[in-house]
Protein backbone atom coordinates (compact mmCIF):
# COMPACT_ATOMS: atom_id res chain seq x y z
CA UNK A 1 0.00 0.00 0.00
CA UNK A 2 2.83 2.36 0.96
CA UNK A 3 4.69 1.55 -2.23
CA UNK A 4 1.54 2.12 -4.28
CA UNK A 5 1.02 5.52 -2.64
CA UNK A 6 4.66 6.37 -3.31
CA UNK A 7 4.20 5.49 -6.96
CA UNK A 8 1.13 7.71 -7.23
CA UNK A 9 2.87 10.57 -5.45
CA UNK A 10 5.80 10.39 -7.84
CA UNK A 11 3.44 10.71 -10.76
CA UNK A 12 1.85 13.84 -9.41
CA UNK A 13 5.30 15.25 -8.75
CA UNK A 14 6.12 14.55 -12.38
CA UNK A 15 3.06 16.47 -13.52
CA UNK A 16 4.24 19.37 -11.42
CA UNK A 17 7.79 19.38 -12.78
CA UNK A 18 6.45 19.32 -16.32
CA UNK A 19 4.91 22.77 -15.66
CA UNK A 20 1.39 21.39 -15.65
CA UNK A 21 1.60 19.87 -19.13
CA UNK A 22 0.55 16.45 -17.84
CA UNK A 23 -2.19 17.99 -15.68
CA UNK A 24 -3.46 20.05 -18.59
CA UNK A 25 -3.44 17.04 -20.91
CA UNK A 26 -5.32 14.84 -18.42
CA UNK A 27 -7.88 17.62 -17.71
CA UNK A 28 -8.42 18.04 -21.43
CA UNK A 29 -8.78 14.30 -21.98
CA UNK A 30 -11.29 14.08 -19.13
CA UNK A 31 -13.49 17.02 -20.13
CA UNK A 32 -15.31 15.48 -23.11
CA UNK A 33 -15.82 12.14 -21.32
CA UNK A 34 -17.00 13.75 -18.08
CA UNK A 35 -20.37 14.70 -19.58
CA UNK A 36 -22.77 12.04 -20.85
CA UNK A 37 -24.21 14.47 -23.43
CA UNK A 38 -20.75 15.03 -24.96
CA UNK A 39 -19.99 11.30 -25.04
CA UNK A 40 -23.32 10.32 -26.62
CA UNK A 41 -23.17 13.03 -29.29
CA UNK A 42 -19.56 12.21 -30.25
CA UNK A 43 -20.19 8.49 -30.47
CA UNK A 44 -23.35 9.19 -32.49
CA UNK A 45 -21.30 11.26 -34.98
CA UNK A 46 -19.03 8.25 -35.51
CA UNK A 47 -21.90 5.76 -35.86
CA UNK A 48 -23.81 8.03 -38.25
CA UNK A 49 -20.68 8.49 -40.34
CA UNK A 50 -20.33 4.70 -40.53
CA UNK A 51 -23.99 4.34 -41.54
CA UNK A 52 -23.56 6.96 -44.27
CA UNK A 53 -20.38 5.29 -45.56
CA UNK A 54 -17.72 7.00 -47.65
CA UNK A 55 -16.94 9.87 -47.80
CA UNK A 56 -19.07 10.89 -44.77
CA UNK A 57 -17.27 8.39 -42.54
CA UNK A 58 -14.18 10.59 -42.63
CA UNK A 59 -15.63 13.99 -43.60
CA UNK A 60 -17.75 14.22 -40.43
CA UNK A 61 -14.84 13.49 -38.04
CA UNK A 62 -12.66 15.99 -39.98
CA UNK A 63 -15.32 18.72 -40.08
CA UNK A 64 -16.30 18.35 -36.43
CA UNK A 65 -13.00 19.37 -34.75
CA UNK A 66 -12.45 22.21 -37.24
CA UNK A 67 -15.84 23.77 -36.53
CA UNK A 68 -15.60 22.84 -32.84
CA UNK A 69 -12.42 24.91 -32.65
CA UNK A 70 -14.37 27.98 -33.81
CA UNK A 71 -16.80 27.43 -30.92
CA UNK A 72 -13.79 26.81 -28.70
CA UNK A 73 -12.28 30.12 -29.80
CA UNK A 74 -15.52 31.91 -28.85
CA UNK A 75 -15.42 30.18 -25.45
CA UNK A 76 -11.77 31.12 -24.95
CA UNK A 77 -12.54 34.73 -25.84
CA UNK A 78 -15.42 34.74 -23.34
CA UNK A 79 -17.99 35.45 -26.08
CA UNK A 80 -21.41 34.57 -24.69
CA UNK A 81 -23.26 31.91 -26.64
CA UNK A 82 -26.83 31.46 -25.41
CA UNK A 83 -28.00 27.96 -24.49
CA UNK A 84 -24.70 26.10 -24.73
CA UNK A 85 -25.86 23.24 -22.48
CA UNK A 86 -29.18 23.05 -24.35
CA UNK A 87 -27.28 22.90 -27.65
CA UNK A 88 -25.02 20.10 -26.40
CA UNK A 89 -27.95 18.05 -25.07
CA UNK A 90 -29.94 18.74 -28.28
CA UNK A 91 -27.00 17.41 -30.29
CA UNK A 92 -27.20 14.05 -28.46
CA UNK A 93 -30.94 13.90 -29.20
CA UNK A 94 -30.72 14.98 -32.86
CA UNK A 95 -27.69 12.85 -33.75
CA UNK A 96 -29.17 9.86 -31.91
CA UNK A 97 -32.35 10.37 -33.95
CA UNK A 98 -30.33 10.41 -37.19
CA UNK A 99 -28.73 7.08 -36.20
CA UNK A 100 -32.11 5.63 -35.13
CA UNK A 101 -33.70 6.58 -38.46
CA UNK A 102 -30.53 5.60 -40.36
CA UNK A 103 -31.13 8.94 -42.10
CA UNK A 104 -29.30 9.48 -45.38
CA UNK A 105 -29.48 13.20 -46.20
CA UNK A 106 -27.12 14.76 -48.78
CA UNK A 107 -23.59 14.95 -47.44
CA UNK A 108 -23.61 18.74 -47.09
CA UNK A 109 -26.71 18.63 -44.90
CA UNK A 110 -25.17 15.95 -42.65
CA UNK A 111 -21.93 17.95 -42.40
CA UNK A 112 -23.83 21.19 -41.68
CA UNK A 113 -25.90 19.54 -38.93
CA UNK A 114 -22.82 18.07 -37.26
CA UNK A 115 -20.92 21.33 -37.67
CA UNK A 116 -23.74 23.39 -36.14
CA UNK A 117 -23.68 21.27 -32.99
CA UNK A 118 -19.87 21.24 -32.94
CA UNK A 119 -19.93 24.98 -32.13
CA UNK A 120 -21.76 24.30 -28.84
CA UNK A 121 -19.41 21.46 -27.87
CA UNK A 122 -16.40 23.61 -28.70
CA UNK A 123 -17.71 26.54 -26.67
CA UNK A 124 -18.30 24.31 -23.63
CA UNK A 125 -14.72 22.97 -23.81
CA UNK A 126 -13.13 26.28 -24.79
CA UNK A 127 -14.62 28.17 -21.85
CA UNK A 128 -12.44 26.00 -19.58
CA UNK A 129 -9.27 26.61 -21.60
CA UNK A 130 -8.08 29.90 -20.05
CA UNK A 131 -8.30 28.33 -16.56
CA UNK A 132 -6.30 25.25 -17.52
CA UNK A 133 -2.87 24.66 -15.97
CA UNK A 134 -1.39 24.42 -19.46
CA UNK A 135 -3.88 25.60 -22.09
CA UNK A 136 -2.15 23.99 -25.07
CA UNK A 137 -1.95 20.60 -23.32
CA UNK A 138 -5.62 20.97 -22.32
CA UNK A 139 -6.54 21.73 -25.94
CA UNK A 140 -4.56 18.73 -27.20
CA UNK A 141 -6.26 16.54 -24.59
CA UNK A 142 -9.82 17.50 -25.40
CA UNK A 143 -9.39 17.40 -29.17
CA UNK A 144 -7.77 13.95 -28.78
CA UNK A 145 -10.59 12.70 -26.53
CA UNK A 146 -13.21 14.01 -28.96
CA UNK A 147 -11.48 12.29 -31.87
CA UNK A 148 -11.20 9.03 -29.96
CA UNK A 149 -14.94 9.15 -29.16
CA UNK A 150 -15.61 9.58 -32.90
CA UNK A 151 -13.32 6.61 -33.56
CA UNK A 152 -15.28 4.59 -30.98
CA UNK A 153 -18.50 5.41 -32.84
CA UNK A 154 -16.92 4.44 -36.18
CA UNK A 155 -15.72 1.20 -34.56
CA UNK A 156 -19.24 0.42 -33.34
CA UNK A 157 -20.48 1.33 -36.82
CA UNK A 158 -18.67 -1.70 -38.22
CA UNK A 159 -21.90 -3.53 -37.28
CA UNK A 160 -23.44 -1.80 -40.32
CA UNK A 161 -22.05 -4.65 -42.46
CA UNK A 162 -24.60 -7.15 -41.09
CA UNK A 163 -28.40 -7.03 -41.17
CA UNK A 164 -28.73 -7.69 -37.44
CA UNK A 165 -25.93 -5.22 -36.83
CA UNK A 166 -27.80 -2.49 -38.70
CA UNK A 167 -30.81 -3.17 -36.45
CA UNK A 168 -28.59 -3.00 -33.36
CA UNK A 169 -27.17 0.35 -34.51
CA UNK A 170 -30.66 1.78 -34.96
CA UNK A 171 -31.60 0.57 -31.48
CA UNK A 172 -28.46 2.23 -30.13
CA UNK A 173 -29.61 5.39 -31.90
CA UNK A 174 -32.97 5.17 -30.13
CA UNK A 175 -31.19 4.79 -26.77
CA UNK A 176 -28.97 7.82 -27.53
CA UNK A 177 -31.95 9.92 -28.67
CA UNK A 178 -34.04 9.05 -25.60
CA UNK A 179 -31.13 9.81 -23.25
CA UNK A 180 -30.49 13.01 -25.20
CA UNK A 181 -34.13 14.01 -24.81
CA UNK A 182 -33.91 13.42 -21.05
CA UNK A 183 -30.72 15.53 -20.86
CA UNK A 184 -32.33 18.20 -23.04
CA UNK A 185 -35.31 18.41 -20.68
CA UNK A 186 -32.90 18.80 -17.76
CA UNK A 187 -30.93 21.53 -19.58
CA UNK A 188 -34.13 23.38 -20.51
CA UNK A 189 -35.44 23.30 -16.96
CA UNK A 190 -32.22 24.81 -15.62
CA UNK A 191 -32.48 27.82 -17.96
Amino acid sequence: MVCFTAACAAESALAHTANGTATGLVSGLRHPISGLDHVLAMVAVGIWGAQLGRPAIWILPVAFPLVMSVGGMLGVRGVHLPGVEVGVAASAFALGLMVALAARPPLWIAAALVAAFAVFHGHAHGAELPHAAQPLAYGVGFVLATGLLHATGIGIGVLERWREGRRALRLAGVAIAVTGLYLLAGAMSSL
Binding site: C3, F4, A6, A7, C8, A9, A10, E11, A13, L14, T17, A18, T21, W58, P61, V62, A63, P65, L66, M68, S69, V70, G72, M73, L74, V76, R77, G122, G126, L129, P130, P135, L136, A137, G139, V140, V143, L144, G147
Partner: protein, 189 residues
Protein backbone atom coordinates in the same frame (compact mmCIF):
# COMPACT_ATOMS: atom_id res chain seq x y z
CA UNK B 1 10.35 -8.13 -5.23
CA UNK B 2 6.90 -6.93 -6.27
CA UNK B 3 7.16 -4.05 -3.81
CA UNK B 4 10.56 -3.08 -5.26
CA UNK B 5 9.16 -3.02 -8.77
CA UNK B 6 6.25 -0.81 -7.69
CA UNK B 7 8.59 1.52 -5.83
CA UNK B 8 11.00 1.74 -8.76
CA UNK B 9 8.17 2.44 -11.17
CA UNK B 10 7.26 5.37 -8.96
CA UNK B 11 10.77 6.77 -8.91
CA UNK B 12 11.50 6.21 -12.60
CA UNK B 13 9.35 9.07 -13.99
CA UNK B 14 11.04 11.56 -11.70
CA UNK B 15 14.45 10.38 -12.88
CA UNK B 16 13.34 10.58 -16.48
CA UNK B 17 12.48 14.24 -16.03
CA UNK B 18 15.53 15.10 -13.94
CA UNK B 19 17.93 13.55 -16.44
CA UNK B 20 17.55 16.07 -19.28
CA UNK B 21 17.55 19.06 -16.95
CA UNK B 22 20.86 18.38 -15.23
CA UNK B 23 23.89 16.45 -16.30
CA UNK B 24 22.75 15.69 -19.82
CA UNK B 25 25.19 18.08 -21.45
CA UNK B 26 24.43 20.88 -23.87
CA UNK B 27 24.13 18.65 -26.94
CA UNK B 28 21.57 16.32 -25.36
CA UNK B 29 19.70 19.21 -23.70
CA UNK B 30 19.49 20.77 -27.16
CA UNK B 31 18.19 17.50 -28.56
CA UNK B 32 15.46 17.35 -25.92
CA UNK B 33 14.44 21.01 -26.16
CA UNK B 34 12.14 20.77 -29.21
CA UNK B 35 10.31 17.66 -27.98
CA UNK B 36 9.61 18.94 -24.46
CA UNK B 37 7.30 21.73 -25.62
CA UNK B 38 4.02 20.81 -27.36
CA UNK B 39 3.93 24.11 -29.25
CA UNK B 40 7.24 23.16 -30.88
CA UNK B 41 6.81 19.46 -31.48
CA UNK B 42 3.26 19.62 -32.91
CA UNK B 43 4.03 21.91 -35.90
CA UNK B 44 7.20 19.86 -36.50
CA UNK B 45 5.28 16.56 -36.70
CA UNK B 46 2.53 18.20 -38.79
CA UNK B 47 5.11 19.57 -41.25
CA UNK B 48 6.71 16.11 -41.54
CA UNK B 49 3.33 14.50 -42.20
CA UNK B 50 2.53 17.15 -44.84
CA UNK B 51 5.91 16.59 -46.51
CA UNK B 52 5.19 12.85 -46.47
CA UNK B 53 1.95 13.44 -48.40
CA UNK B 54 3.90 15.24 -51.15
CA UNK B 55 6.11 13.90 -53.92
CA UNK B 56 9.57 12.51 -53.05
CA UNK B 57 11.64 15.56 -54.11
CA UNK B 58 9.49 17.92 -52.05
CA UNK B 59 9.83 15.67 -48.99
CA UNK B 60 13.61 15.52 -49.36
CA UNK B 61 13.79 19.31 -49.64
CA UNK B 62 11.86 19.70 -46.36
CA UNK B 63 14.23 17.21 -44.75
CA UNK B 64 17.22 19.57 -45.06
CA UNK B 65 15.44 22.93 -45.21
CA UNK B 66 13.82 22.56 -41.79
CA UNK B 67 16.98 21.87 -39.72
CA UNK B 68 18.90 24.63 -41.56
CA UNK B 69 16.05 27.11 -40.90
CA UNK B 70 15.91 26.00 -37.26
CA UNK B 71 19.62 26.74 -36.83
CA UNK B 72 19.08 30.13 -38.51
CA UNK B 73 16.22 30.94 -36.13
CA UNK B 74 18.25 29.87 -33.11
CA UNK B 75 21.22 32.02 -34.15
CA UNK B 76 19.26 35.10 -35.25
CA UNK B 77 16.15 35.17 -33.08
CA UNK B 78 16.93 36.95 -29.84
CA UNK B 79 14.69 39.11 -27.66
CA UNK B 80 11.27 38.76 -25.97
CA UNK B 81 9.47 40.33 -28.95
CA UNK B 82 10.85 37.64 -31.26
CA UNK B 83 9.77 34.87 -28.84
CA UNK B 84 6.25 36.28 -28.54
CA UNK B 85 5.96 36.67 -32.31
CA UNK B 86 7.30 33.17 -32.92
CA UNK B 87 4.56 31.67 -30.72
CA UNK B 88 1.81 33.41 -32.73
CA UNK B 89 3.40 32.34 -36.04
CA UNK B 90 3.81 28.78 -34.75
CA UNK B 91 0.09 28.59 -33.89
CA UNK B 92 -0.85 30.05 -37.29
CA UNK B 93 1.38 27.45 -38.93
CA UNK B 94 -0.46 24.72 -37.00
CA UNK B 95 -3.73 25.96 -38.51
CA UNK B 96 -2.37 26.24 -42.07
CA UNK B 97 -0.45 22.95 -42.06
CA UNK B 98 -3.33 21.15 -40.29
CA UNK B 99 -5.85 22.26 -42.92
CA UNK B 100 -3.47 21.35 -45.77
CA UNK B 101 -2.99 17.91 -44.15
CA UNK B 102 -6.77 17.44 -43.91
CA UNK B 103 -7.20 18.46 -47.56
CA UNK B 104 -4.39 16.06 -48.58
CA UNK B 105 -3.66 17.36 -52.07
CA UNK B 106 -0.37 17.72 -53.99
CA UNK B 107 1.02 21.18 -53.24
CA UNK B 108 3.49 23.41 -55.12
CA UNK B 109 7.04 22.64 -53.98
CA UNK B 110 7.64 26.34 -53.32
CA UNK B 111 4.73 26.54 -50.86
CA UNK B 112 5.90 23.50 -48.87
CA UNK B 113 9.46 24.87 -48.86
CA UNK B 114 8.26 28.24 -47.52
CA UNK B 115 6.29 26.47 -44.79
CA UNK B 116 9.38 24.44 -43.86
CA UNK B 117 11.56 27.58 -43.69
CA UNK B 118 9.05 29.54 -41.61
CA UNK B 119 8.42 26.55 -39.28
CA UNK B 120 12.17 26.08 -38.87
CA UNK B 121 12.88 29.72 -38.10
CA UNK B 122 10.04 30.12 -35.57
CA UNK B 123 10.98 26.76 -34.06
CA UNK B 124 14.54 28.02 -33.61
CA UNK B 125 13.68 31.34 -31.93
CA UNK B 126 12.72 29.81 -28.53
CA UNK B 127 16.03 27.94 -28.60
CA UNK B 128 17.88 31.26 -28.80
CA UNK B 129 16.51 32.27 -25.39
CA UNK B 130 18.11 29.15 -23.87
CA UNK B 131 21.57 30.10 -25.05
CA UNK B 132 22.65 31.96 -21.93
CA UNK B 133 25.47 31.66 -19.39
CA UNK B 134 27.78 28.73 -19.83
CA UNK B 135 25.65 26.91 -22.43
CA UNK B 136 27.76 25.92 -25.41
CA UNK B 137 25.56 27.37 -28.11
CA UNK B 138 26.78 25.33 -31.07
CA UNK B 139 26.32 22.01 -29.25
CA UNK B 140 22.82 22.98 -28.05
CA UNK B 141 21.70 24.25 -31.47
CA UNK B 142 23.12 21.28 -33.38
CA UNK B 143 21.36 18.93 -30.94
CA UNK B 144 18.03 20.71 -31.50
CA UNK B 145 18.51 20.67 -35.29
CA UNK B 146 19.28 16.95 -35.16
CA UNK B 147 16.02 16.32 -33.31
CA UNK B 148 14.22 18.37 -35.96
CA UNK B 149 15.77 16.19 -38.65
CA UNK B 150 14.84 12.97 -36.81
CA UNK B 151 11.22 14.03 -36.15
CA UNK B 152 10.68 15.21 -39.76
CA UNK B 153 12.29 12.03 -41.13
CA UNK B 154 10.12 9.86 -38.88
CA UNK B 155 6.91 11.69 -39.87
CA UNK B 156 7.72 11.55 -43.61
CA UNK B 157 8.59 7.85 -43.32
CA UNK B 158 5.41 7.17 -41.38
CA UNK B 159 3.11 8.71 -44.01
CA UNK B 160 4.94 7.10 -46.92
CA UNK B 161 4.73 3.68 -45.27
CA UNK B 162 0.94 3.88 -44.89
CA UNK B 163 -0.65 1.81 -47.63
CA UNK B 164 -4.20 1.08 -46.46
CA UNK B 165 -6.80 3.77 -47.31
CA UNK B 166 -8.02 4.18 -43.73
CA UNK B 167 -4.50 4.99 -42.53
CA UNK B 168 -4.31 7.87 -45.01
CA UNK B 169 -7.67 9.06 -43.67
CA UNK B 170 -6.27 8.88 -40.13
CA UNK B 171 -3.51 11.32 -41.19
CA UNK B 172 -6.14 13.71 -42.57
CA UNK B 173 -8.15 13.49 -39.34
CA UNK B 174 -4.94 14.16 -37.37
CA UNK B 175 -4.46 17.25 -39.55
CA UNK B 176 -7.91 18.54 -38.59
CA UNK B 177 -7.02 17.99 -34.92
CA UNK B 178 -3.78 20.00 -35.29
CA UNK B 179 -5.67 22.83 -37.03
CA UNK B 180 -8.39 22.79 -34.33
CA UNK B 181 -5.82 23.07 -31.53
CA UNK B 182 -4.10 25.92 -33.39
CA UNK B 183 -7.34 27.87 -33.90
CA UNK B 184 -8.28 27.64 -30.21
CA UNK B 185 -4.84 28.61 -29.01
CA UNK B 186 -4.84 31.61 -31.36
CA UNK B 187 -8.07 32.62 -29.62
CA UNK B 188 -6.25 32.55 -26.31
CA UNK B 189 -3.47 34.75 -27.68
Amino acid sequence: MKKRIVLLSGIAPALAVAHPIKGAGDFYSGMLHPVLALEQVLPMIALGLLAGQQERRTAIRVLWLFPVALITGAVAGHGPKATSLSMAVELSLMVIIGILLAISRPLPRLLVSILAIVAGIVGGIPIASELTGDVEAYRFVVGAALTGLVVITWAIGLVRSLKRPWTQIAVRVAGSWVAAIGIMMLGLK
